[in-house]
Symmetry: D3
Subunit: 113 residues, 6 copies
Amino acid sequence: MAKSVEEFRKEREALNEKILARDDINMKRFFALDSAVYRDGALDEKTKEMLGLVASLVLRCDDCIAYHTIRTREVGVADKEFDEVMSIGLIVGGSITIPHIRRATALWEETKA
Amino acid sequence: MAKSVEEFRKEREALNEKILARDDINMKRFFALDSAVYRDGALDEKTKEMLGLVASLVLRCDDCIAYHTIRTREVGVADKEFDEVMSIGLIVGGSITIPHIRRATALWEETKA
Amino acid sequence: MAKSVEEFRKEREALNEKILARDDINMKRFFALDSAVYRDGALDEKTKEMLGLVASLVLRCDDCIAYHTIRTREVGVADKEFDEVMSIGLIVGGSITIPHIRRATALWEETKA
Amino acid sequence: MAKSVEEFRKEREALNEKILARDDINMKRFFALDSAVYRDGALDEKTKEMLGLVASLVLRCDDCIAYHTIRTREVGVADKEFDEVMSIGLIVGGSITIPHIRRATALWEETKA
Amino acid sequence: MAKSVEEFRKEREALNEKILARDDINMKRFFALDSAVYRDGALDEKTKEMLGLVASLVLRCDDCIAYHTIRTREVGVADKEFDEVMSIGLIVGGSITIPHIRRATALWEETKA
Amino acid sequence: MAKSVEEFRKEREALNEKILARDDINMKRFFALDSAVYRDGALDEKTKEMLGLVASLVLRCDDCIAYHTIRTREVGVADKEFDEVMSIGLIVGGSITIPHIRRATALWEETKA
């Protein structure tokens, strides 16, 4: 996996640890919940990651999009499936999602290797 | 199916016709595209409707949520699956999505019959 | 002009007066500024009202859209011009703007008389 | 306290119960967390309710604004303090917050009795 | 025209090509539509670019703002007209638009040459 | 105070001056109002800065968050108080606020010295 993906992960984890080290109980509970909702349930992890990706895309949260782009790759989302998630996000959220689709697509292709 | 669902549909269609009757070519193209992205493709219609639902939820568009709630019911989304879509939307979009989850849940239960 | 337009105006003014009666200096200054930016300047009032309308549409503020729809009618925006403002808002803001375009179009046609 | 405030509360609680009855564990955890963050801590309840109110205002969530408006009244926020919360929300979030400030102000005055 | 403007254009085009090369039909249709709405019609290109600019500003999409800032310069928007578009966006969208106005203004002045 | 904080301030001020030098009267009035709402009033400056911070967080405006993070430090907000502002913003605004909380927390700790 590409260098920049590793860097993204490391910075993300370092800062998450900084937040959790502050020991705010509600913050910690939210982080636990944020992991829990994406686990296999009635819907499988693959579907849930695509849900997380499209939600992040229409809300235009680049770090969230990057995270879920990497995760959708890991859980086996196919190329055409990724494109269709992007298309739905684009139609729902409009042309303001395009800069985020640009970056997500570049990252998606980078994680192919 | 409940009365209010039928009313929602009728009002929605009447107003859509009013828009399309104005004969703006770009508006019409967008409407066509908006139907096209939810059709079976690499992802099936059921997955796509759930993607449309979670995107509508985090963007807090009540009419869009209502439309996709009815559609997810029609294409066979199960109760627990609906709940998990709501949960992901809630975690991604925060407590401001709760009023929309309230209305979506009421509508979901109403469409059960 | 239709009844509902008159009602919208009256309710809006009654509530604005309630806000201003509270006599918060910053609130009052903002209201003055909010009127000032739409006055004729380098750009004429007609262009400015269309700018206010498209901004309100993509931010999906129904009361703001209604206000600027009525105002664009008053300052002489033509039918095709109104449609093009809607189309740009739709492309920029995506399908979540459609419920607002439905209501704006109904109001636009209602103000025709 | 006025009738409409009571109605708002009842409808809100009825629908919350409907959601919780579905027994989705993550949904329930979020609801618990949503109560927890507003309890007295390093910041007192009054400050926290004002934080919840301004956050709801700039995100333009009417039900959330109504809830926190009622709560700020209950925990002893004064008239001028309420106005200053509204003013900060207005400056941060712009004129699109005005329709929400209108409704919040009407509700604030209604809860005075 | 300044170096950074050229760089912005090149990166934008390179990534757009990457997206279009994926050959998703709905994505391509949206891109075509996104060009079409800004062409001369009932409203001229200059007015349409200003509409695109204010919509991008209130939605706080930096790449979109940069694109329309460059385009408004190209189609002959005057200095005072640009300022008035910014002012309307600021009043509608609030102080959170200011960081974007800062960057748009810097780019506007850079494209003067 | 750390280097990056100083750089942030300088760049912010340089660009603000560029905007104000354009001499748009409405822009100037808004800037004056934007300073006025945070001054001691019925609510003290400390409470107002926390209100500005949580509003900026849920609207995910990084420059605004950075500004109010620095300001809350200056006016004497304590560590646990800062954490509680972040927690409320997180619950109201959801997981999309986390990338901003990461950067705000890093800056908060940097301004400790």
